[in-house]
């Protein structure tokens, strides 16, 4: 049996029945990491020793199993883990050891997970290819010459490579869904406020959400059960109004799905469009009521996002000043020079670019024209989604207009890179939940489709995504997992 093919739900069942130990499962994943991570570079840090200890602990307490006991999990390095280096893939935090653990990680640890390590990402979650990591790029397990997407590229690649049974990512403009799409796995960005942000190193506070990256939709639902809920440490978190169940096997009868015309058309790579059109047909065959939907202001989503998110980031990243923790440039003779040298040395190009963008957008005299205007656009997009969802239950689009691109292909052109997230960014502006599931392959590379739900309807969204998954019947895994059959 290839343990790397087991979903979390399946593995949990086997462990519960005594057919599988967490130690064996954990060893299988650690072995895969040992075999392939020098190529893939999904992990910034592998915590093998503590993972083994934890697995042994879980196995020893077999009678009284925690709900997620023994599942080998990868954590994006944007989440603080007490005593375990948390770098955000930045030189700025090269040796930073948090003094506390993020609420969402703590909840999962209480539920029994085994943490395998911290995954690579674009520095401070700014990027769409994981090439902006200060420690080197992650590679796509389907084709090592290509990027895994980003910014949660390490987490998506880990799941796709069989280096973790599932993973946590964070999504500000598509950072869970786009790499999930490019790596052929499932990625959910929950409704803003569903999952605590306490301990998530902030990029853009009004967009950031933590969510699952998994092999199958059912696993995402299982993980979500333990992620959601109000956290007294995060004022923007709420109690999820809808209980999340594990989806059941059924078709899409009666589910009304609107295809977003502005995202489903010629802007997509033809091979991607072909897979997407095929997928729409498959969903229709499974009983979905397909219609066309429109988001008329969507062309302004990207520019608005690239004002608002950098504006928030420019303030969020001000704390990295060399005073209390992290990098401090040594040679400065006064405090201003120390700030300048530390931040020049500690931040990468893209991070600096966004800090500059955001600082400019908030500057006196420019605020109304940029930040103020972008907020208005955000309101229009929220209204667009409300209107579009009046008559349908879900919206549908490709997750990414292209499949995984080659390393270096877009690094010289920031705008081309920003366009990678054109399908996912509007969802962050609206705060709605969105999920990417694999729909097929184009030229041997995975293509994902994105389903968007109404606020706090994750339960319905996950059930529908599971039904869609059944209808699409995509059962391929990356060559790195296939190789272990």
């Amino acid at each position: 049996m290839n343990l790397l093919r087991l979903t979390a739900v399946e593995a949990l069942k086997k462990m519960g029945r005594g057919e599988l130990t967490s130690a064996d499962l954990t060893e299988a994943y650690l072995a895969q990491i040992g075999r392939h991570d020098s190529d893939v570079f999904a992990y910034l840090k592998v915590t093998g020793e503590s993972a083994r200890a934890r697995a042994a602990q879980v196995d020893a307490g077999a009678g009284d199993r925690a709900p997620l006991a023994g599942l080998p999990t990868a954590i994006k390095d944007v989440l603080c883990t007490r005593g375990v280096t948390t770098t955000c893939a930045s030189k700025m935090l090269e040796n930073y050891n948090p003094i506390y653990t993020a609420t969402c990680v703590e909840r999962l640890e209480q539920a029994g997970i085994v943490t395998l390590g911290k995954t690579n990402m674009d520095e401070f979650a700014m990027g769409s290819s994981t090439e902006n990591s200060a420690y080197g790029p992650t590679r796509n397990p389907w084709d090592l010459e290509r990027v895994p997407g980003g910014s949660s590229g390490g987490s998506a690649a880990a799941v796709a490579a069989g280096e973790a049974i599932w993973a946590l990512g964070s999504d500000t403009g598509g950072s869970i869904r786009q790499p999930a799409s490019l790596c052929g796995v499932v990625g959910l960005k929950p409704t803003y406020g569903s999952v605590s942000r306490y301990g998530l190193i902030a990029f853009a506070s009004s967009f950031d959400q933590v969510g699952p990256i998994t092999k199958k939709v059912k696993d995402a639902a299982l993980l979500m059960q333990f992620l959601v809920g109000k956290d007294p440490c995060d004022s923007t978190s709420v109690d999820h109004p809808d209980k999340i169940d594990l989806p059941i096997d059924r078709d899409l009868s009666g589910v009304r799905i609107g295809v977003v015309k502005e995202l489903a058309g010629e802007g997509n790579d033809p091979a991607v469009k072909a897979v997407f059109d095929q997928a729409v047909k498959a969903l229709e065959s499974a009983g979905a009521v397909i219609s066309q939907a429109s988001l008329p202001h969507i062309e302004y989503a990207l520019p608005a996002y690239y004002i608002l998110a950098p504006a928030e980031a420019s303030a969020n990243l001000a704390r990295f000043d060399g005073v209390r923790y992290g990098l401090r440039a040594g040679s400065a003779s006064d405090v201003t020079q120390m700030y300048e040298e530390t931040r020049s040395l500690g931040f990468g190009e893209e991070v600096k670019r966004r800090i500059m963008l955001g600082t400019y957008a908030l500057s006196s005299g420019y605020y109304d024209a940029y930040y103020g205007q972008a907020q208005k656009v955000r309101t229009l997009i929220v209204k667009d989604f409300e209107a579009a969802m009046n008559d349908v239950d879900l919206l549908l689009s490709p997750t990414s207009a292209t499949t995984a691109f080659k390393l270096g292909e877009r690094t010289a052109d920031p705008l081309a890179m920003y366009l990678s997230d054109i399908c996912t960014i509007p969802v962050n502006l609206s705060g709605l939940p969105g999920i990417s599931i694999p729909a097929g392959l184009a030229d041997g590379l995975p293509v994902g489709i994105q389903l968007i739900g109404k606020a706090f309807t994750e339960n319905h969204l996950l059930q529908s995504a599971h039904s869609a998954e059944l209808a699409l019947g995509f059962d391929r895994v990356s060559p790195l997992i296939e190789g272990q059959d």
């Binding site: 989440l79 603080c80 948390t86 955000c88 935090l93 930073y96 948090p98 003094i99 506390y100 993020a102 942000r197 306490y198 301990g199 998530l200 190193i201 902030a202 853009a204 506070s205 009004s206 007294p232 440490c233 995060d234 004022s235 923007t236 504006a311 928030e312 420019s314 303030a315 990243l317 001000a318 704390r319 990295f320 000043d321 005073v323 209390r324 923790y325 405090v335 201003t336 700030y339 600082t359 908030l362 500057s363 006196s364 605020y367 930040y371």
Partner: protein, 482 residues
Amino acid sequence: MKYEPVIGLEIHVELSTKSKMFCGCRVEFGGEPNTRTCPVCLAHPGALPVMNRQAIRYLTRIALSLDCDVPEKSIFHRKNYFYPDLPKGYQISQYDQPFAVEGILNVGVDGELHRVGIERVHQEEDTAKNIHAGESGRIAGSLYSLIDFNRSGTPLVEIVTKPEITSPQVARAFLNKLKNTLQYLDVSDCNMEEGSLRCDANVSVRPAGSTELGVKTELKNMNSFKNLEKGLTLEIERQIETIESGGRVVQQTVHFDVVNGEISPLRSKEFAHDYRYFPEPDLVPLFATAEFVDEVRVEMPELPEARAARYMETLELPAYDAEVLTSSRELADYYEEVLKHYDDAKTASNWVMGELLGYLNATGQELSDFKVKPAQLAELLTMVAEGKVNAKMGKEIFAEMCDSGKDAAGIVAARGLTQISDQSELEAHIDKAIADNPKQVDQYRAGREQVIGFFVGQVMKATGGRANPQVVNELLKQKLAG
């Protein structure tokens, strides 16, 4: 030409809540540096602020006491700037939608009432404290700087007046009245030395009667009432001199040197700050519902005016007494504590206003350090009322109590000060006085009755002032008549 000053004040008040504004760390002055900190007030990555409800209740009390309008919704903003005492690189504050607006505080100066408008009252958080190592304690020329984050994130309320204050005296009276009010509200220690009450002043001058505002300068950190008045007076003089000599006032921050009493422009490379305010995405809007505001209104402590009125009405004190006693909450509380053990309100008032305040004034002591507890003063007053000691002696005993903190009864016992009312003991002294002074006896018997005062004096002298004057009088009359 005649000029008139226009002054506006910006006051920062540290709230005396148990915990900080956005985290659970304890609020307390001083202590071992960096012991009351956490990921939030140290701005560790990923930490988020959570609003302190108690602070918002205190803020509401302040807003209500200043008769402000409290809009139902206010929001927090980030005020961005880099400084080592500001760990997040921004201060969470309020900007264009503050908690409360359009208030008023009336101030009396020399019997004249001045109405000072309040522009806004908003909530923010305090910074950490930089400590510069070096002789001056200032950043220029220091060897290195240390940061104590214990203060970081302490709830801070900013109160901004309208530019409606017409003289340094009114400014001082305003600050005094505000401090008193805040103390009554029980929301802050208002200790200017420890920095829990801080005041900046904006000041400009203009030709008397003009309605346009002149160019203003800012006086920062006026750390006492006296310095506020003095600094403003000097700065107003400087501005008038500048204009009179054909110059122009430049908008800038000026420094008032308390030691040499001089005003000088702040030597600084500071250029106009662009704080890049934007709405704080980590906090939800603050809703002060009518129910919430009413709830706070009900629990509002009694304010000085109300308390003074009560003293006049139920304790029948004169207006002057009522005003003096309520001039600080601490004093009024002290007075009321005395009345719990002693029921002659006017006598108690006389002692508190006369003896107690006299002692504090003479020694420069604060009431909080005063050794005589209200119950101890009440005991002394009871002894005087019961005739155990006379009033004059009572004052001496009080002075000793102030110095030592001892009880009146103890001092009386130790010094043998109890009044002598015992007839047989007094008779011996009286007989001696009569025997020693035959000339005065003759005068008395010849009809000069006032000579009796001479004999009382002799007996008092002999008893060290302890003789009960009434008893002595009675006995003398009998004996001299004989």
